[in-house]
């Protein structure tokens, strides 16, 4: 298979799967962070935000060891008969979920925090169960935050480099993503290919931001 095409497939699969997992994990986590008065809120929030300030290679380094045959995660997956996750696609997914977590959780958290408690209480007195309230009130009211979280999570995973290189290596068709391919092309002095790929990623990222801005503007108008 064409290495560029293979890298596009791996990248989209990785970003898509990571985003879905992050939304599923991130929604309850963000809800808890937005509403709890627990003393654990601040430490947990700091851990979630850590990948924003930590050098990606540091995260990748720890993950590599954690997933290795002697690491806790590695021993766990080996016990399950799955082997170790390092240099595999599932390993990349685990790493991406951790790495992109703040980019999904933070927008969701501010979206949830902005929902008026009174509106939720009103829904409760109108016979809506807690789960019902989440789907019929919280989610519709935080749609802009959901869109932002989805786009950020996806775009950020597409753009990751350091963690991927540490954990996933550079296996064509399995773990080689676009950002790593670009690096390879530059290393090989294939500047023409690198230009095309870089331009493609630039347009993709710009498009994502345009969509976000446009959706954000539309919500503001709808609220006036």
């Amino acid at each position: 298979m064409n290495p560029v095409f293979a890298a596009i497939v791996v990248t989209l699969e990785l970003a898509g799967l990571t985003t879905v997992i992050l939304l599923l994990l991130g929604m309850p986590l963000a809800w808890w962070l937005a509403r709890t008065r627990s003393r654990w809120r601040i430490p947990v929030g700091a851990i979630v935000g850590l990948p924003m300030v930590l050098p990606p290679t540091v995260l990748g380094f720890y993950l590599l060891f954690g997933m290795g045959p002697h690491g806790p995660l590695g021993q766990f997956t080996t016990a399950l008969g799955l082997g170790t996750l390092a240099f595999t696609f599932p390993g990349l997914v685990v790493a991406s979920v951790l790495y992109s977590m703040p980019f999904v959780v933070h927008p969701l958290q501010s979206g949830f925090a902005a929902i008026d408690r009174g509106v939720l209480e009103a829904a409760a007195t109108l016979r809506a169960t807690p789960l019902d309230r989440f789907f019929s009130v919280v989610l519709p009211l935080s749609r802009p935050a959901l869109v932002t979280a989805t786009l950020f999570g996806f775009a950020h995973t597409v753009g990751e480099f350091g963690v991927v290189l540490m954990v996933g290596g550079n296996i064509d068709g399995q773990t080689r993503v676009l950002s790593v391919l670009l690096y390879d092309q530059v290393e090989a002095m294939a500047y023409g290919d690198a230009h095309r790929l870089a331009a493609g990623l630039l347009i993709f990222s710009f498009g994502m931001l345009l969509i976000m801005q446009w959706l954000g503007r539309r919500t503001v108008i709808a609220h006036d």
Partner: protein, 357 residues
């Protein structure tokens, strides 16, 4: 003897850092019970506890033979058959007025007739397609009322529903409250810090102060108690129930009251309508003889029941007029000159009778 199945039993305790709520009440299972108190007295917290919105509150909430909360269990808000109208309406901003009305209605399993009935009674039809964000304050409260009522609640709770509205919007909502009293046939708990609203709406009145019930009872009895802080306020007033006998072209109403015939200005409700009158103590003066040469329309024969000195230096007289009571304020000097004493027959001259509409 009251049948326990025919009243509302409340025992609510809540401890906060700066504040303790400790309320035990038995309320009638029909009509409007008004909880009146200054801000910070805990009246909104009490209402929220009844609705199940205060997880830290414990005690007992029983309506008729249905128990929402006791020592062993507490139903979450969505399992209580309650209707709540919040101070700021709290309409769901992402739904149209129609979907706001349908939100609870659908989940409560009430019939289409109930939904249509309240849309008509509260004149909500023109608003149905609108977004709550485009409604005026008065419209919002009307929708909030409708939204609570279409669930067919056992008990309607209203938390200062008029306090965020100006006088004109209030005048829009007040007739709706009358409609509810007439049509809903469910008990209402109405929380307010406005004496006017309490005097106008209450069948049963609860005075709450610093988290405790100061007194509760039939509204007219509580309103006319001369020994309560209510009677010592600057705007102390007697509340008299009357019925409209006639109205003339100039807006002067003739009213039959336990104190005799009274006259008041106001928009004319049809003859036979029961109204409440508010007679402020500072609008009442007394005379030993009946003056004919005065512009004062209302002159009522009364006897002095009690005389109480006020901190302002004035004296407050409690007057009996037939079965009704009135308050009057006079200076020490006038009291000496007229030799006022308990049991003395005096003519009360009432400068203004306010119709509570």
């Amino acid at each position: 003897m009251t049948d326990a199945n025919d009243n509302i039993g409340l025992r609510v305790q809540l401890q906060r850092a700066q504040f303790a709520l400790d309320v035990a009440l038995t309320l009638p299972a029909r009509g409007m019970s008004v909880v009146f108190g200054p801000s910070g007295s805990g009246k909104s917290t009490l209402l929220r506890a009844i609705a199940g919105l205060e997880p830290a509150a414990h005690g007992c909430v029983r309506i008729g033979d249905t128990i929402w909360q006791d020592a062993h269990m507490r139903l979450p808000p969505h399992r209580r058959d309650v209707g709540v109208v919040f101070q700021h309406a709290a309409l769901l901003p992402h739904l149209s007025v129609r979907d706001n009305l349908r939100f609870g209605w659908r989940r409560s399993g009430a019939t289409t007739d109930v939904l249509g009935g309240w849309i008509e009674k509260l004149a909500l039809a023109p608003l149905l397609a609108r977004s709550p964000l485009t409604l005026s304050g008065g419209e919002r409260q009307r929708v909030a009322l409708g939204r609570a009522l279409v669930c067919r609640p056992r008990w309607l709770l209203m938390d200062e529903p008029l306090s965020a509205l100006d006088a004109q919007r209030r005048a829009e909502i007040l007739p709706c409250l009358e409609t509810i009293r007439r049509e809903a046939n469910i008990p209402v708990l109405y929380v307010t810090h406005s004496v006017d609203e309490a005097a106008r709406l209450a069948d049963h009145l609860v005075l709450l102060d610093a988290g405790k019930v100061r007194i509760d009872g039939p509204a007219l009895e509580v309103l006319n108690r001369a020994d309560l802080p209510l009677a010592l306020r600057d705007d102390a007033a007697a509340v008299i129930e009357a019925s409209v006998v006639a109205s003339d072209d100039h807006g002067l109403l003739t009213l039959q009251s336990p104190a005799g015939i009274l006259y008041a200005h106001g928009r004319a409700p049809p003859p036979g309508t029961r109204v409440r009158l508010r007679v402020q103590a500072r609008d009442v003066s007394v005379a030993l003889s009946k003056h004919a040469d005065t512009s004062v329309l209302n002159i009522v024969a009364t006897t002095v029941k009690s005389i109480m000195p006020l901190s302002s230096g004035q004296l407050q007289l409690q007057l009996h007029a037939g079965n009704a009571q009135m308050l009057a304020r006079v200076s020490q000097q006038s009291a000496l000159r007229l030799q006022l004493r308990e049991g003395l027959a005096v003519w009360a001259q009432i400068k203004a009778v306010a119709l509570l509409i």
